[in-house]
Structures are given as structure tokens and as C-alpha cells.
């Protein structure tokens, strides 16, 4: 087993190349710039194109152009940059173009700061752009997952003809951990829909416009069916010590690492705590939340996020009042300490 000690952001660059991505269009923004810098360094070595666009808008539309021809392509940015990309993201979803977008999120709203926040959940998972679309959203919590989920993102994007987001945050992007890289991917799905500037694909059209109300409705229904299949087949999560848990801590991305430590600490004190971490934010792991809700030993869910409470809504939708769902969030780029989390859990234990 060979491992590299590498930053999450750099793991994204290597894994994208190993996944066969040869086209990166980006715009610098902290704390995601390393992905652009790493790509600038490495893409030319394997015959790829790295291009620094004039803006986030330029970058996402370059992705739209490249994706139209069926090649694997990507962009990376951070929260305010992602806001700018939203127009393009809606078009990509409407035209059903596969691509990978990495969001190394930071503090907001507005310029906010560059510290790790998770305030992008709503704009990424609930759709910051217009229209009835969904993105496939993967939330890594380690440098290894920055690699694995980036590779998976390319596969899912191709499989479903859908833009796919790797939603990380400043901490995971900046953190170094041992990463084991898989072998390069050498076979890719055929994309018969793509415009490849060839006779065979001449009749193909990439578009998101449909003036006729009925036909646009049919297109939308088709999209919803696709999303339903994704919800059925692509759910990923991690349940840590949940089966006998009376309390389930829930969080995605970096916060789940803290929750894991908290579980270990509280278990050592004899408290039956578990941690449930959605890895796919869309599709949201509804069934497993439902499964634990139905368990008699479960007293409550405690959701922790680095935002004002965004994913907690999805947990509540599933739990639907059957068990209490408590929320604790930090904002501005602050991470809670383990003590703080334990204090919060103990407080809620006394309540229920």
C-alpha cells in the first residue's frame, strides 16, 4: 500500500486527472485556489488544458462548452465564486451536461471570510440557481475522500448526465492526510448525445431552451424521474456506533470528524451515542434516518453544522416530529470544540 501525505485540495487535482479529466477551467479564490494552482501545474503534463477564466461565470460556461463534447471537465471554487456560477449550473442541469464542480466552502454571506463554514448547503443542495433541478452532491470528510469522492463524482456525472458537486470546506481542503490513489481510469462511457464535431454527432443539440409549455413540462418530468432513480440508487452515508445508540449525532463534512471524536469520548463514559454522516447530500440518506427514527432505543437526533441550520431541515423532514431533532451550529468560520459539543448533547439529554 502506497500513500501520499497530501492536502485535500491537492488530492482533488490528482484524483481528477486519474479519473480522466483533462479540462479544468477556474478562477482563483481562497481557500480553493490550490486546486487551480495544482491543475495549472499538472494538466499540461498529461495533455490536458488548464485555463484561468476571466471570472467564475466564464469558468462555468467554459465547463458547459467542454462538457457539451462529452469530455470530462471540472471547475473548483469557494462560496462567493459558487454563487456566481449558479446561472451556469442551472444551464448545465437543464442541458443535462456531466461535469464536476468542487466547492471548498468558506464563511458568508457576502465576502464573509475564508474560514471553514458550511453555509453553502442550501445553495448547493436545494439549488441556488433557477428551475426544478438537482445536483448530485458529495460531502467528503477527509483527504482520502477528497480523492475518492472526486473520482466518484466524475462517474456519477457521466452515468446520470448531471452536474455533480464535491462540497468540502476550507478545513478539509487545507488538511493533509495520507491518501492512497487508485489506478487511472482508462475506459469511459460512450456519450452518444454529445456534440463532438463529427459527422456521427452532427445532429446532436445541447440546449436548455424549450418554448412550448407542454414540452418543457415533459423535460422537467424526465429530470424528476432521473432524480428519483438517483435517490433510489446512489445514497451513501456512514453510520458510526448507531445501532444501539440512544442519541445520534448528525453532521456532514468536517464536523463529522469532530462528532466521531465526541462519540468515542462519550462512549468511554458509557453513554450510548452514535454518529450518522450523510456522504451524499443529494440524494439525502432518508431511509437510514427513518430507520433510526423507528428504533425504540433512540431518544433524539442532534444535528451539528457550521451554519445556521440547513441540513437539519432535511433530517426533520424525515423524522417528521416522531423524535426530537436538536440543532447546534457555529458560524463565521468557527468550529465548536469537542467540549462544546458534549455540553450541548448533555443539555439535550437532560431535556428529553
Amino acid at each position: 500500500m502506497k500513500k501520499a501525505l497530501i492536502k485535500g485540495n491537492n488530492a482533488v487535482v490528482y484524483s481528477a486527472l486519474l479519473a480522466g479529466c483533462r479540462n479544468f477551467f477556474g478562477y482563483p479564490i481562497t481557500p480553493a485556489s490550490e486546486i487551480a494552482e495544482g491543475s495549472a501545474l499538472l494538466y499540461p503534463k498529461v495533455g490536458g488544458t488548464f485555463l484561468q477564466a476571466e471570472s467564475e461565470i466564464g469558468a462555468i460556461n467554459m465547463v458547459y462548452g467542454a462538457a457539451s463534447s462529452g469530455v470530462r471537465c471540472m471547475t473548483a471554487s469557494s462560496s462567493p465564486g459558487i454563487s456566481l456560477k449558479m446561472e451556469g449550473i442551472s444551464y448545465l442541469a437543464g442541458a443535462e451536461l456531466p461535469c464536476v464542480i468542487v466547492d471548498v466552502s468558506r464563511g458568508g454571506p457576502g465576502l464573509g471570510n475564508i474560514a471553514p463554514e458550511q453555509g453553502d448547503y442550501n445553495q448547493i443542495v436545494k439549488g441556488g440557481g433557477h428551475g426544478n433541478y438537482k445536483l448530485i452532491v458529495l460531502a467528503p470528510n477527509s483527504a482520502q475522500e477528497m480523492c475518492d469522492l472526486t473520482m466518484l463524482a466524475f462517474d456519477l456525472a457521466d452515468k446520470y448526465r448531471n452536474p455533480t458537486v464535491v462540497l468540502a470546506d476550507g478545513t478539509i481542503g487545507q488538511m493533509m492526510e495520507p491518501v492512497e490513489f487508485p489506478p487511472p481510469i482508462t475506459t469511459f462511457p460512450k456519450k452518444e448525445w454529445a456534440v463532438k464535431a463529427t459527422l456521427e454527432t452532427r445532429e446532436n443539440l445541447i440546449s436548455s431552451i424549450e418554448l412550448d409549455a407542454d414540452r418543457l413540462e415533459i423535460h422537467n418530468q424526465k429530470l424528476q424521474k432521473k432524480y428519483a432513480i438517483i435517490e433510489e440508487k446512489e445514497v451513501r452515508y456512514e453510520a458510526y456506533c448507531c445501532d444501539d445508540a440512544e442519541i445520534i449525532l448528525c453532521g456532514f463534512g468536517i464536523i463529522s470528524r469532530l462528532l466521531q471524536s465526541v462519540v468515542d469520548e462519550m462512549r468511554a463514559e458509557g453513554i450510548a451515542v452514535g454518529m450518522l454522516r450523510p456522504i451524499t447530500l443529494f440524494p439525502f440518506p432518508k431511509n437510514i434516518v427513518d430507520y433510526y427514527t423507528l428504533k425504540r432505543n433512540l431518544k433524539f437526533f442532534n444535528v451539528f453544522e457550521l451554519n445556521n441550520g440547513q441540513m437539519v431541515d432535511d433530517v426533520k423532514l424525515v423524522v417528521n416530529g416522531r423524535k426530537p431533532v436538536y440543532f447546534y451550529g457555529r458560524m463565521g468560520g468557527n468550529l465548536p470544540t469537542q467540549k462544546e459539543i458534549i455540553h450541548e448533547v448533555m443539555k439535550n439529554m437532560r431535556q428529553s
Binding site: L5, V46, P184, R202, Q260
Partner: protein, 479 residues
């Protein structure tokens, strides 16, 4: 190539029936009578046919009246967001250098909402061809002001006429594009009479040919009638182009470097996958797993905080510790403080080492604190756990820690490193001190072999090794 087209004959580049239009009227275009789009479409379609590039042509349609250009052109088609066609074209062409990319845009699309995209694509010299239809109005949305609307011209959003003090002046895009270095060919034409249509035909061909010959970015602006938006008859519209529009937007060739410009061929390498690790330099960052016989088996978690000024090599010290620990097959994490605080101010990083999966990568209460300046000592001293270790540069921090429940080791690391050859080796000297203290899970022999490979600076390698040994024996002597 010079074949004359019968005016009634349809170029093969057009579909026979415009099925994409929908169920009704699939034989006529959606454009208004007297609209310039139809003529320009035909000139482009003929050129594509004559050049024999129909299969490799990809037309990018904009948002505007020509949003439906794909109804007509039997080529690859991509419909893009308002103003973004040059960026879409850029992405497409970069990924498909063999293609011929044509961006077809109107004035609102190109000169207002997409002004940045067009300037930047032109300035990069993207190997695409842009046709810019300037009719001084927003036709599709019902006759609002365009960036090219003339002064005093009335539109639905300039009901009193365009006022230079309020809306500014009409934008001359050909002139702007021609000032840039990269574009190879820029011309403005108009679709008024046979003579000018012939000129436009010629410009269309030159611009497409420029791309075929790999000469870079070409741009043709076409003054085109919009009888509907202007509320004129087609004949009045033609006259107005001649008398008004073309006196502000003067037709002519604004740039023509076609003769002198060398073709630029884009070569894409395609190395075999076996070479990726090597090309990407992954091999060198990979470290073989080291099976150290004395790896600590009992569960342990070492939490290190390393802090001082930016530039003291503290983040690298953290990296080296983490890399050495990884070499022992431990789980590790390294997390820097990042952002502006690193520029000149204090810097710190957190390193965790364990023989089981690491939860939080943050270190709040370190078991080991390594500090190289006073403010950091002040900030972190009290956070160290009971029984923890504080290693500090006693040359830079004159007051030793006041904590009695920790092991404190002061070494004038920077001073000693200076005498060894370079102050920059101070961090590795402290690593030596640390490694000696953590013998229970760090193997000295392994460190001795692995360290030279892990140290990034080749120039400092020797002095760093000296510093490490000094630090290692320093604490040995102390014990």
C-alpha cells in the same frame, strides 16, 4: 469554392425542414420579414458548405432573436446562456481543437451582458469565429435599448430617446476588439444592398477561413435590420442603416493580420495511463509503508500544536513530523492555520498521530506544544494537557513556561542552528528534541533513513541533518 449560389437555393448546411421549430410552420424561419439574421445565416451556411466543414462545425447560439439558430443549421449545435457564448466556445474549442467553432451573437448578448466574455476570449486569441449582429436594439424581448442603440433613438426603455448623459454612448465593439493584440481579423459590414451583402459574404468567409488556418480569433460585426424593433418597413430599415447606423458604426476592416500571422497548431499529448503516476510525480510523494517492529500497539493519540512566526518553518516541521509518523504506518493529520494571518503574522499547525482512525484534525489541548515565539507561548501554554510537553526556543522566548505540571524543554534552537550553518534549520533541531522524547512511538533509525527524503529543501539537507542530530542528543543529555 467560388460557386455562385442561386439566391433561392438552400445551402446544404441548412436543414430541409426546420423540425426543431416544433409542429407548425416548419418550412419558414421564425425571423420577421426584412430581418438581417436570415441573410447572415445564409452567408454562413454557404461558407460552411463550400469549405466542406459541415461535420466539424459547431454553432453556439446565444440568447436573442437568434437563440434558435439551431433550428436551421445542420451542424453541431450548442445553445448557451445570455452573453456566455464566447466562454462556451472557449471551453468547447480547447477540448476539441479539431472543431470549427462559430459563436453567433446579438448586440445585447455580446456588448452588454457578455461584454467581458467577448473581450477576454478575443484577448486570449481563442481560435473561434464570432459573428456579431448589431441591430441597435433588443429584438427578441420587444424593442428595449441595446448598448449599440444610437443617441436619441427611441426604444421601449429609452422612450424619450437615448441620452448620452443618462445611458452613455453606443459601444463600438469592432473598434474595441481591434485594439487588442490577439485577434487576427476584425471587420464591420452591413446588410443593405447587393454590394454590401457581397462584402459581408467575403468577410464571413475570411473569418471562418482564419479559424480553419489556425490563425486565431476572428470577428465580423454585421449591421442588420430589425424592422420590427425599429417600427419601420423593411425598406425604411435598410435606408436607416445607410443614413444613421452606418455613420456611427462605420463599416470597414479594422484589423487584418491574416497574411502575416503564423498558424498556431494546438498539439495535445496523450501519454499512456501507465505513465500517469510518473508524469504527475505521484511516485515521489508516495511513501512505502514502513513496518517498524516497535510500532506502539496500545492505543494512543498524540496531539501536537506547533506555533510561532510565519517564516520559521513551523508548518514544514508539522509536515515532517506527520510524514515520519505516516512512515510508521500510523494514522496522521496535519492542519494549518491558513489565510492572511500567515502573511507575516503568527502561524500554527495542528498534527495528530494515532494508531486508530483520527476524528477531529483540530488540536485544542495539545499533548505536545512546540513554540518559537512569545505570543504563541502566551496563547497556547495553558491549553497544554496536564503531563504534556512544551518544547520552546529559549533564545527567542526568555521566560520559561510557568506551568509546573508539564515537561518544559527550552533550547536556543535558532542560535544553535545559526552556528550549525543556517537559522532555518532551527525547526528541524526542535524535531530532534521531539523525536528523542517520543522514542516510544518514533523509531530513531527509521527517522535517520527517511528524513533526508522527506526534507523538501535540498540546499538545507546537510545542515538540517546536523540540526536534527544536535536536537536528538541535546535532549538525550538532558535526561
Amino acid at each position: 469554392m467560388t460557386r455562385q449560389h442561386n439566391i433561392l437555393q438552400k445551402p446544404s448546411t441548412f436543414f430541409d425542414i426546420f423540425e426543431r421549430k416544433g409542429v407548425s410552420e416548419v418550412k419558414s424561419t421564425h425571423y420577421c420579414p426584412g430581418c438581417g439574421h436570415g441573410i447572415l445565416h445564409k452567408l454562413i451556411a454557404e461558407a460552411i458548405e463550400d469549405f466542406g466543414i459541415q461535420d466539424k462545425t459547431v454553432l453556439i447560439s446565444p440568447v436573442g432573436c437568434s437563440v434558435f439558430a439551431y433550428y436551421y443549421f445542420d451542424t453541431g449545435n450548442i445553445q448557451s446562456a445570455h452573453g456566455r457564448a464566447p466562454a462556451v466556445g472557449t471551453g468547447y474549442k480547447r477540448a476539441n481543437p479539431h472543431s470549427i467553432v462559430i459563436s453567433y451573437q446579438g448586440d445585447g448578448d455580446l456588448a452588454a451582458i457578455g461584454a467581458n466574455e467577448i473581450i477576454q476570449a478575443a484577448n486570449r486569441g481563442e481560435a473561434i469565429t464570432v459573428f456579431f449582429v448589431n441591430n441597435a436594439i433588443y429584438g427578441m424581448t420587444g424593442g428595449q435599448m441595446a448598448p449599440t442603440t444610437l443617441l436619441n433613438q427611441t426604444t421601449t426603455t429609452t422612450p424619450y430617446g437615448r441620452n448620452k448623459f443618462h445611458e452613455g454612448y453606443p459601444l463600438r465593439m469592432s473598434e474595441i476588439i481591434a485594439t487588442l493584440e490577439a485577434p487576427v481579423y476584425v471587420e464591420r459590414c452591413m446588410l443593405t444592398d447587393a454590394k454590401n451583402i457581397a462584402k459581408t459574404r467575403n468577410a464571413v468567409r475570411k473569418a471562418i477561413k482564419a479559424q480553419m488556418d489556425q490563425k486565431g480569433f476572428s470577428f465580423v460585426e454585421v449591421l442588420s435590420g430589425c424592422p420590427t424593433g425599429w417600427k419601420m418597413t423593411p425598406q425604411e430599415a435598410k435606408t436607416w442603416i445607410t443614413t444613421d447606423l452606418s455613420t456611427y458604426f462605420v463599416p470597414g476592416v479594422y484589423k487584418d493580420d491574416l497574411e502575416t500571422r503564423e498558424p498556431h497548431e494546438v498539439k495535445q499529448e496523450n501519454p499512456p495511463p501507465e505513465d500517469y503516476y510518473h508524469l504527475l510525480n505521484i511516485n515521489q510523494t508516495l511513501k512505502e509503508e514502513y513496518v517498524f517492529p516497535h510500532v506502539l500497539k496500545e492505543p494512543f493519540l498524540e496531539e501536537i500544536k506547533i506555533a510561532g512566526f510565519g517564516g520559521q518553518g513551523l508548518l514544514s516541521l508539522g509536515y515532517v513530523i506527520a510524514a515520519l509518523a505516516m512512515g510508521h504506518a500510523y494514522e496522521v493529520s496535519w492542519l494549518p492555520s491558513y489565510g492572511p494571518e500567515m502573511r507575516g503574522g503568527t502561524a500554527n499547525c495542528s498534527v495528530k498521530i494515532s494508531n486508530s482512525r483520527i476524528g477531529s484534525p483540530l488540536v485544542t489541548n495539545p499533548s505536545t506544544l512546540i513554540v518559537m515565539n512569545k505570543p504563541s507561548m502566551k496563547k497556547f501554554e495553558n491549553a497544554v494537557i496536564n503531563g504534556g510537553i512544551i518544547i520552546y526556543d529559549s533564545g527567542l522566548i526568555d521566560t520559561p513556561p510557568s506551568r509546573q505540571d508539564v515537561t518544559a524543554i527550552g533550547v536556543p534552537a535558532t542560535e544553535i542552528a545559526d552556528t550549525l550553518g543556517n537559522t532555518k534549520a532551527a525547526n528541524i533541531l526542535l524535531l530532534g528534541v521531539y523525536a528523542r522524547l517520543k522514542k516510544q512511538f518514533l523509531d530513531e533509525q527509521y527517522i535517520q533513513t527517511a528524513l533526508p527524503a522527506i526534507l523538501e529543501s535540498k540546499a538545507l539537507r546537510d545542515v538540517n541533518i546536523k540540526a536534527f542530530n544536535y536536537g536528538f542528543t541535546y535532549s538525550e543529555n538532558m535526561k
